[in-house]
Amino acid sequence: MPNDGSLPTASPPAAPELSATGIVKRYGALLANDHIDLSVARGEIHAVMGENGAGKSTLMSILYGLQQPDEGRVLLRGEEVHFRSALDAIGKGMGMVHQAFKLFHSLSVWENIVYGAEPRRGVFIDRAAARRAVADLAARHRLAVDPDAIVSKLSVGVRQRVEILKALYRDARILILDEPTAVLTPQERDSLFAVMRHLAAEGRTILFVTHKLHEVMAITDRVTVLRDGRVVERMTTAETNPREIVRAMTGRSVSLTVEKGLSHPGATLLEAIDLTIAAPGGKPLVDKIALKVRGGEIVGLAGVAGNGQSELVEALVGLRRLDGGKVLVGGIDVTDSDVAARRAAGIAYIPEDRASVGSALAASAADNLAMGFHRTPPLARGGLIDAAAVARRARALIAKFGVKIASESAPVGSLSGGNLQKVVVARELSHAAPALIAEQPTRGVDVGAIEFIHGQLVAERAAGRAVLLVSSELSEILALSDRILVMYEGRVLADVPQDKANEETLGLLMAGRAPEAA
């Protein structure tokens, strides 16, 4: 059912395209949505903002039919709807692009798009018609994509286009985009924004769920801010500013910029020499990377995910064997040392994946905070762990880092992303190692926790430690780093001092364009 592009013209003054009134959703004792009202006009790009746990995801799930509200009504173009499944919602013109894409990797683009609504010829799929429909749709919405390409071979940005085309193929008139820019380069983001504007101009309505303030300012018409399951503010984008939005989101005023003094780099504390990681039968994942981080500086490692950053970090901390090169910590060669020996030599590590690498979810906060320190006094005595000392240490760290948790014996699996990340950060910083490797330290955590973690990284720098910050978030790299390395296809393309770096140049480098001689 590919649409023919002509949407019915609105009869002014029409009812809002989408309106939700008094939406309530409870999970046990938790009130996830507390009488939420949301109204969105046709052709509008509407931001839904809020910290983690504010109720955005629940609300979107309700609007897309994945969850049913306990109370409240949803109206589409003035008509009440009751979605019992996503299929109901799709049938009424809702479309959603999930943060984690829902694509079939081994299938082609056109198969992904027509899946579940295939054009038929007899009992067979009408392959020609399907490919044509996809190509037409892609051309009309300027979403360049090859219908026959296999999804697993596509970049993240193109995969997102496939997701959008999936919704448009089903003639979605209201499109929910859940954190769509989290995985994009700045250039990919700009082209997404162009598509969003085009869709809105066509009369489609976009609900844009995001954490990122500058994107809200750049693209949206209006903003609805949620906090603790309630709508705390409705704003017109043109009449507000980032500071106001943050205050609405957090209920307090949060510093959006990172204050850090001049850097006073000292001796090199973390070094990689010609570090190489081979890929079976392909280009090396990491190709002879040389890297130095000195005490008292933060070096940012930027790049689109999947360009060798994770492998490089794993090799530095000892989780992956090198195929060539050396790793030095404080001038000592640790290339042949295991993780424990490297930690002892002076590496602390905040891993990208806090849930499966950074912590043991079923274990208590006390145990998680003790890990890595459990072999030596004061936590271990005569080969046995001193439970009282572990608990004492945990209470002190929980207080110092402001982790919101019922008690130190509660399992960390119950914590929100931001709080879990605080546990990991607390443990790694309590190591007081000369070199700190922080990998995506603020991914998926809310504004308040970001402010806190950034502050901690800056404090490490001030204490004369070497910090390697790996992040796909350019604004974070730009705010914190003294120098910025850009990785592309396993190599460092450029080493840019902070004052010479901006989003545009870094974005081009991240896309693999070598710096032009200017």
């Binding site: 081994s106 299938l107 999936k166 039968g281």
Partner: protein, 319 residues
């Protein structure tokens, strides 16, 4: 070589391929919807037993085949519901089913017919062979297919049918999607559990056919554990064939020939304990070789990570 491949060898190879082929098609279908079916051995055994019972009771081979399919489908309900509605681990369920099938058929043999070990009776009608004199002198293929049961023909027709359904129809596209990324299918309005339940039951019917071929094809007898590992060989064929019916059929051909050759070698004077292992040796060798080839052709770590378990085969789905 000409002395090695004889009409008799071809006929016994094609006969040996049939049950494995039917079972591996069942495995392919289950694998495509994301249910790892290791219970083929047990499903076949139930089919073989019910086939003999059906034939004995109805005095007709068709009755036996119908009973085999029905019994295997009912038996497959355990996997169909266990692995979906009850969210059980399919490996554990399948191990249980295989043990249950072995014990249950031995028990029923004693209770129903008062015998243990094997059951044969003149009342059991075996499957008639289709004789095609026109092709019996065509070397290799003609030799192989000139005197086979309808189930052999059905098995090869099903290879084509399953291929077309999987790769040319909306149903096939949905099945492939359900196995690869169930939550993506769900968001597009596909009832993943229903697709899985029905597919596992259809696969059960195919495994039942495989069992009927075993007990009513060349013989008309049921023996305890008469599947003798053929279900497991079918599981391997599914993995070697990367859940593609054509590739799985090719693997079955390989195993069928190994089986036929083992009989041949026996007649050359080699001890049968030694020749009996040849299909399994070939299976192991094929597994090791294909694994080596595949790890070398590994595409990207991301794709590998997206496909847990040995069953999943992300990229190379030929169509």
């Amino acid at each position: 070589m000409s002395g090695l491949i004889t009409p008799f060898l071809m006929q016994s190879a094609v006969q040996a391929i049939t049950p494995i082929l039917l079972a591996s098609l069942a495995g392919v279908l289950c694998g495509r919807v994301g249910v790892f079916n290791m219970a083929l051995e047990g499903q076949m055994l139930i089919g073989a037993f019910a086939g003999v019972v059906g034939s004995y009771v109805t005095h007709s081979a068709a009755g036996g085949v119908a009973a085999a399919m029905l019994a295997a489908v009912v038996f497959s309900l355990i996997l169909a519901y266990g692995a979906t509605i009850f969210r059980g681990d399919s490996v554990v369920i399948c191990i249980g089913m295989n043990l249950l099938a072995s014990g249950l058929t031995a028990y029923l043999l004693r209770v129903m017919f008062g015998v243990s070990g094997t059951f044969s009776d003149p009342a059991i009608v075996s499957l008639a062979k289709i004789r095609i004199t026109a092709i019996q002198d065509i070397p290799i293929v003609g030799w192989g297919f000139a005197r086979q049961t309808p189930l052999t023909w059905a098995a090869w027709a099903l290879v084509a049918i399953v291929s077309v359904v999987l790769f040319k129809t909306p149903l096939g596209l949905r099945l492939r999607g359900v196995g690869e990324q169930p939550d993506a299918a769900e968001t597009l309005g596909i009832d993943v559990r229903a697709y899985r339940v029905v597919t596992v039951l259809v696969a059960g019917a195919l495994a039942g056919l495989a069992g009927a071929q075993l007990s009513l094809g060349a013989v008309s007898v049921f023996a305890e554990d008469m599947t003798a590992g053929r279900g497991w060989i079918a599981v391997v064929a599914v993995m070697l064939g990367r859940r593609n019916p054509l590739y799985a059929a090719a693997a079955c051909v390989l195993f069928g020939f190994a089986d036929a050759f083992s009989v041949k070698l026996q007649s050359q004077g080699l001890p049968n304990q030694l020749t009996d292992i040849s299909p399994y040796v070939v299976t192991l060798a094929a597994l090791v070789l294909s694994h080596r080839r595949r790890t070398r052709a590994l595409v990207s770590p991301e794709v590998a990570a997206a496909t847990p378990g040995g069953m999943a085969e992300p990229q190379a789905d030929a169509r």
